[in-house]
Symmetry: C2
């Protein structure tokens, strides 16, 4: 079983030293969230993840969730662990104190998301979707609904789901067939089939609150006729207690490559009672409130799985002896630890430089997210919101793809042992393999980025972003200069690529479409480079206070700028060759 | 379950039109291997693979090989299929007619290797290692041993293994501990433990012939004291019949991420009787005869799994409707087939252009291999042998890595369905995941390439290779010109990178080591580009005879030159930044 030590030091470094976003610091309700409080939370979080949740990963993989006589049973130990998990208040970390939450900002809860993704992604998903549903209800439902459902969800006694996908409609929700028929009392009867529903049914909570998109009988076809409904597994009585079973049943659960402890369900809605959330026919935009926050969390899942893969392959490289390094000093032909080999070191530094850069970018994004939701000035809110929209598909796709690269590289370091089940390394790879797929495949993210996020009704978002980065480059700092010079090359490439993209969006959409994945990568690498620059600034400024820590940061950044950033070049060259030859191709 | 149609047309195209290697065509014994004969063989091979072997992939994944009361049982259906397989003579395809083989060249048997890798890699491994052992015995053993063992192995009634790895010795064979004690009769008693032995034990054959490396009692430590021994599972009596059980037992079998139908064994040798093959203390070089041929076959495994992944994702893209393409002509908002989306087309063409380029490169390499083994002129043999040595690590690593990329991209096209077991796509990914690891990890291949294959005792092999390519570029052909111009850019990059590498090997080995994986990729992409150029030459020349086929080739090549070759750029930029900052890094 892999080991895991939560990277609390790196997280606290970000929280203490990179919380220099003026607008974030203006948010009234977070002014009391100080270092000491956060450190206590993260240390407790580390304990519960390392001790309670980590062992569930292997258990869940070896004893997948099953459907027996209509009941979904989670793996052995999940129930007991979940009970402790909610008793510790871990579901409520970022929730509104009005409903029993702890009111922590995303700058803190994102660290917890990372830790639990490292420990057991399958187990995490049971509470993650509850938080997604919580957010959606919190933003869009009436007070009556909120008062009835949120306290139990915040407490973790009830869980939540997002029911979007149907057999013929995944990416393209306009095709959905689930029907909602209005009743005389204003409620609806929901009928249809939903598939790939994460945590759609299980034995961990007393009730499950499904958020379902469906088409009301008198709504138009396509995406403009979709409304959002709350459909509980058990009807909730007026006094808040649980009543009779609603018309939702579990048809089957999927047998999957990984996250086997997570129940991925086919749910059949048969005249189930549902309550409309928000205005009719606006269901998609409400669902997207939830989806967008979820997408960032999927990126964080990739980051978490990368971190545990890195930690274990590093430890293995320090224990395993094999072959002589170029600097072997042994007299008798003895082998060196594999960490002495340049190629292994390169692979480990590649992981580390990506992981720590991603964590810094994610922290920046958490601050922007809080500003976009909670700042008092609507203009500032809007600017932050545009940046969050721009970075959401990037974080979702890049972090999940890097998770594949890093968990795979970790397997390589283990050699043959990495391919066997004993070490648990191959499981990290299988578990992470869902992240580039769910919540919208990475290609769909890239298309969303290119066609909807670069320029929006508020203006040229990508241009503003590039300007912001350029404005932050402090050429007068001699230490930073070599880094800034390298980054400038790729900012310029991003700039040219962005202009190319904006032109193609207007005049040659297929060119833009075929280049979208490469473009997302380019923007992502530059964004991580920019995050590293922020880390470097602090590292040089504060150097004397924590020399070893900052030296490590500076050298890790150096690797990123030397060996990761140049990936931009090939993406750009390859993507800008157009698409005519691709569209004309006859696939026989 | 995935479908599979063997790509006989593409194979026959290569065999008919690209068999223009003068030296290959001079080999006397293959002069009768004509088109008609090969076509018959490939068509029969297609049938047995599509009908008999393909279904074993899913069976083996769902019912892995087990060890019960000391007996290794293969999955249901394997025994019956194996019986038909050997009755059809498929193990003997490339073997010496003297021992009952069909004497086919690698230009033919490599196609069969690809087909069976597409159909079921786990099943393939039972006969693949037999062929590896056959080759080793055929080259290095005495006539007495050959006459005793080879006919049964060629027939497929006995199988073979390669026993190298031990718990503390994988890559670094110098560390091996297995001992061989000479007996008065000239035989040896072998004692020690071998791990990760593919097909180490099973119920498909009457006997298993292990080729074991071990250290004789009076041999020196390190790699210079390793000898090779033949150790049968059952002692073979003088009359060739099977006698008593030898001192080899199966300690356990591995539970793995994929190729679950294949038995990966821990073998315990306890005073087992063994017979020395070839001269004492030269065991490693003999084993490498076998290893090198095996490594090419591992590359072909990656190619085979890529092909079936491509075929299935292409079919899925032609059936699945989702989202509107940029050119949607539907009036009522109906969705398009996903193959209409530029991004999906790009992904499919990426697969196709890599697969067909690899197949052409592999065919070229098969010809060179035959020249290196069978040409009458020692000088010509040596030149071919150097090229084979140069390309072996490239084909092993690049094809297996591309197999990961392609099977992963195929999963993405399937979306959520790709992550479930039902479709069998995720299995292709898991099965292929061993190929970058076994027979020497891809990093070990890259280091072997850089430190041993670029320059050898015969001269500057890489320089000769680059010269050869340059000599073949026919600038006078207007059709080829645009392709040649693109390729020239990357040949020049390869040239500069090669010179950089040769300098670093002398003066800064860690720089070379840290750059080795990137260098392998660069050489590999250029080699595939060169193979595509050969295909293009024929395609333009012979265009009018098969317009659709050649147009497909030309457009596929166009994709490769536009979108795949530019990957060279980033590998070069990243790799040539040196390694001081990597070697100095303190991993805490």
């Amino acid at each position: 079983m892999p080991n895991y030590t939560a990277p609390v030091e790196d997280m606290m470094f970000l929280f203490d030293k990179l919380r220099n976003n003026k607008h974030y610091n203006e948010i009234e309700k977070y002014k009391e969230v100080n270092s000491e409080l956060v450190k206590n939370i993260l240390e407790e979080a580390a304990k519960i993840n390392q001790n309670l949740i980590l062992p569930l990963a292997k258990t869940g993989d070896e004893n997948p969730t099953v459907l027996e006589n209509g009941v979904v049973r989670t793996p052995p130990g999940y129930k007991e662990a979940y009970k402790k998990f909610i008793e510790g208040g871990w579901t409520s970390l970022s929730c509104d104190p009005k409903y029993g939450g702890q009111g922590m900002p995303r700058t803190v809860s994102a660290f917890f998301d990372e830790m639990i993704s490292s420990s057991s992604l399958a187990f995490k998903l049971y509470s993650e979707l509850t938080l997604g549903a919580y957010n959606c209800i919190h933003y869009h439902a009436t007070d009556e609904i909120k008062d009835k459902y949120l306290p139990k969800m915040v407490e973790g006694k009830w869980s939540g789901t997002m029911c979007l996908t149907e057999p013929v409609c995944g990416t393209d929700l306009g095709l959905l067939k689930t029907k909602a028929t209005e009743q005389p009392d204003g409620t609806f009867k929901i009928t249809g089939q939903k598939i790939f529903i994460t945590s759609g049914d299980h034995d961990l909570t007393e009730n499950i609150v499904h958020l379902v998109i469906a088409r009301a009988s008198d709504s138009p076809p396509g995406t403009k006729g979709i409304s959002l409904f709350l459909v509980p597994k058990f009807i909730v009585k007026d006094d808040g207690t649980i009543g009779s079973r609603n018309g939702v049943s579990t048809g089957s659960i999927e047998t999957k490559m990984g996250i086997k402890g997570s129940a991925t369900c086919v749910l059949n809605f048969d005249e189930a009672s549902g309550y409309m959330i928000g205005p009719k026919n606006k269901g998609l935009s409400q669902m997207f409130t939830m989806m967008n926050l979820e997408r960032i969390v999927v990126g964080i899942q990739g980051l978490g799985l990368s971190e545990i893969a890195y930690q274990n392959s590093l430890n293995y490289a320090k224990e395993r002896k094999q072959g002589k390094s170029n600097n072997n000093k042994s007299q008798n032909g003895g082998a060196d630890l594999i960490i002495e080999h340049a190629d292994i070191r390169k692979s480990l530094l590649n992981m580390k430089s990506i992981i720590e850069g991603e964590r810094a970018l994610c922290f920046w994004l958490s601050q922007q997210t809080e500003v976009s939701l909670n700042h008092s000035d609507p203009k500032i809110k809007e600017e932050a919101s545009d940046l969050v929209s721009l970075m959401t598909p990037v974080v979702k796709s890049l972090f999940s793809d890097m998770g594949m690269e890093i968990t795979s590289d970790a397997m390589q370091i283990y050699g043959g042992y990495g391919y066997t089940k004993d070490q648990g390394i191959e499981q990290l790879y299988r578990d992470n393999r869902i992240t580039p797929i769910y919540e919208g495949t990475n290609s769909v993210q890239a298309i969303d980025l290119v066609f909807r996020k670069l320029v929006n009704k508020n203006g040229d978002v990508i241009n503003n972003y590039i300007k912001m980065i350029k404005g932050d480059l402090n050429d007068n700092n001699d230490n930073l200069k070599p880094f800034i010079e390298k980054l400038k090359i790729y900012i310029e490439k991003l700039n040219i690529f962005s202009n190319w993209m904006k032109e193609k969006i207007k005049n040659s959409k297929d060119d833009a479409n075929a280049a979208s994945n490469d473009y997302l990568r380019v923007l992502g690498y530059v964004a991580i480079g920019y995050s590293w620059l922020k880390v470097l600034e602090v590292s040089y400024e504060d150097y004397s206070n924590n020399k070893d820590f900052y030296e490590d940061k500076i050298q890790t950044a150096n690797f990123f700028f030397n060996r990761v950033l140049p990936r931009v070049e090939s993406h750009y060259l390859s993507a800008t060759t157009g698409s005519k030859y691709i569209m004309d191709f006859k696939f026989n």
